[in-house]
């Protein structure tokens, strides 16, 4: 699967804007894998109660995902973006 990294998280990925991961069944699993590669990234976008932070949006194959148990189909594309908010 492919993860599109927004500019606001590229300090974690050393500037890389697209990360290829093995396919994962859930959004949660994909984010944990991403965090293992780029420590600290997950907590910036997901809070301690496993909720996606209010000013972060995640799209799976173009569909807005609101929960971490969102199922991923095959080689999904995950797009993480900063919402049009945040100040």
């Amino acid at each position: 699967m492919k993860v599109l990294i927004p500019g606001l998280l590229r300090s974690y990925t050393a500037g890389v804007d697209t990360v290829v991961l093995p396919d994962h069944v859930t959004l949660d699993a994909a984010l944990r894998d991403l965090n293992a590669r780029y420590p600290g990234l997950r907590f910036r976008v997901v809070d301690e109660q496993d909720a996606i932070r209010p000013h972060i949006k995640m799209f799976v194959d173009g569909e807005l995902a609101r929960r971490l148990d969102t199922q991923l189909a095959g080689s999904a594309e995950l797009m993480i973006v900063g919402a049009l908010s945040g100040g």
């Binding site: 600290g40 907590f43 976008v45 809070d47 301690e48 496993d50 932070r53 900063g82 919402a83 908010s85």
Partner: protein
């Protein structure tokens, strides 16, 4: 060779100010005379930096509490005086399943001198966290975060001040690492004598005019609480409802704001203590009348100093704008250095840094055009 006699007066020392703003961190460094200043930065550009502090036990070490508008809260730490920074591997966070989330880490405080790796962080909403590895990882202080009375003391996580309810003013008694005080907006001042395992309110004598009961045991709004490092039984607080002093073991605060001029009033955010004289303090009044404009009263900013523990106050405004200056100073944005003639500094909501190298008698604008200043710390 004859033994050299140690100087009796401390040599002039450069002052470094860490300036935490709504859009990043800047550092302002002086020459030995504190006449010439050089600004460097920004670091963490775009981050909301609520607090940045130098470790008083090892001045190579710094911590900064940051988040962005989009990204969650974290702590950055440096071991080379801010040249490089590393993110905490486990930033302050409430326990999974607790239903609570840290919006931002607000206040950073070094632990006791005998515990060199210990730090405390106060968060919004009110939470207390501790690190024993110089800020790399943080765990909740269960004695506070899980205290059965915590919700009664603090109210709900959505209650409180405009930027969110906060735990601030984490104070460690220099005589005893287990003796702690905290301030909460809202909640009040609380004390622990067992390293944070249990807490008791310490609010007698403090007004809470926004409550139905004007003298409740808790639920107050201290804006900034300070403990004097050389007289640790003396504490001061700038509160939402006045200025107070306490000399422990007394358990009742004395209202020292009543002596402020009526036209200025006793409301403000910061409280600054002289590093050596427990009777000398500075406050920065703001307009807390009618709808709480939270700006300098009348657009005429002024520092007020007391040299007698709050019995009387003197206006110190020489060099500050005489009119049409509608900024104020947040609770962490005013500080003092350790120089023989103490330097006092503050940062404004309009992005200016002002300094006095003569204990507040005269003021000079050191920097303009920064973002909204949240915190200024001297080292």
């Amino acid at each position: 060779m004859a033994a050299r006699k140690a100087p009796t007066v401390a040599a002039p020392k450069r002052t470094t100010l860490l300036i935490a703003t709504r859009k990043g961190l800047w550092v302002l460094g002086s020459d030995a005379a504190r006449r010439s200043w050089k600004l460097t930065g920004p670091q963490f550009l775009g981050h909301i930096v609520h607090h940045a502090v130098v470790d008083p036990r090892d001045d190579r070490k710094m911590l900064a509490a940051a988040r962005t508008g989009h990204l969650g809260p974290t702590i950055f730490r440096s071991t080379d005086r801010g040249r490089t920074w590393k993110e905490a591997s486990q930033p302050p966070a409430f326990e999974a399943g607790s239903g609570r989330t840290v919006d931002h880490s607000f206040w950073l405080a070094a632990g006791h001198a005998s515990e060199p790796g210990v730090w405390y962080a106060g968060t919004s909403p009110q939470g207390l966290f501790r690190s024993t590895d110089s800020g790399a990882s943080w765990t909740g202080v269960k004695g506070f975060n899980d205290h059965p009375q915590r919700k009664a003391w603090c109210g709900g996580d959505q209650d409180g001040t405009p930027d969110g309810p906060k735990l601030h003013s984490v104070l460690v008694d220099p005589r005893d690492p287990k003796h702690l005080y905290i301030g909460m907006s809202s909640g009040g001042v609380f004390e622990s004598i067992d390293g944070g395992a249990d807490w008791a309110p310490l609010n007698k004598g403090v007004k809470a005019l926004f409550q139905p009961d004007p003298d409740p045991p808790y639920g107050h709004d201290p804006h900034c609480v300070r403990l004097h490092p050389r007289a640790p039984d003396r504490l001061y607080q700038q509160n939402h409802c006045g200025i107070y002093r306490i000399d422990r073991p007394a358990d009742r605060w004395t209202d020292i704001g009543a002596a402020m001029p009526k036209s200025v009033g006793p409301i403000g955010f910061p409280m600054v203590l002289h590093p050596r004289d427990p009777d000398t303090v500075w406050v920065f009044p703001m307009d807390g009348s009618d709808v709480w404009p939270r700006i300098s009263p009348g657009g005429k900013p002024a520092v007020y100093r007391s040299v007698n523990g709050g019995k009387t106050w003197q206006r110190q405004a020489t060099g500050l704008p005489k009119s049409q200056a509608w900024w104020t100073v947040k609770r962490q944005a005013m500080t003092a250095d350790q120089a023989p003639t103490v330097g006092v500094y503050f940062g404004t909501t309009s992005g200016e840094i002002w300094g006095s190298r003569d204990e507040g008698r005269s003021w000079k604008c050191l920097v303009r055009n920064l973002p909204h200043v949240y915190a200024v710390e001297a080292a």
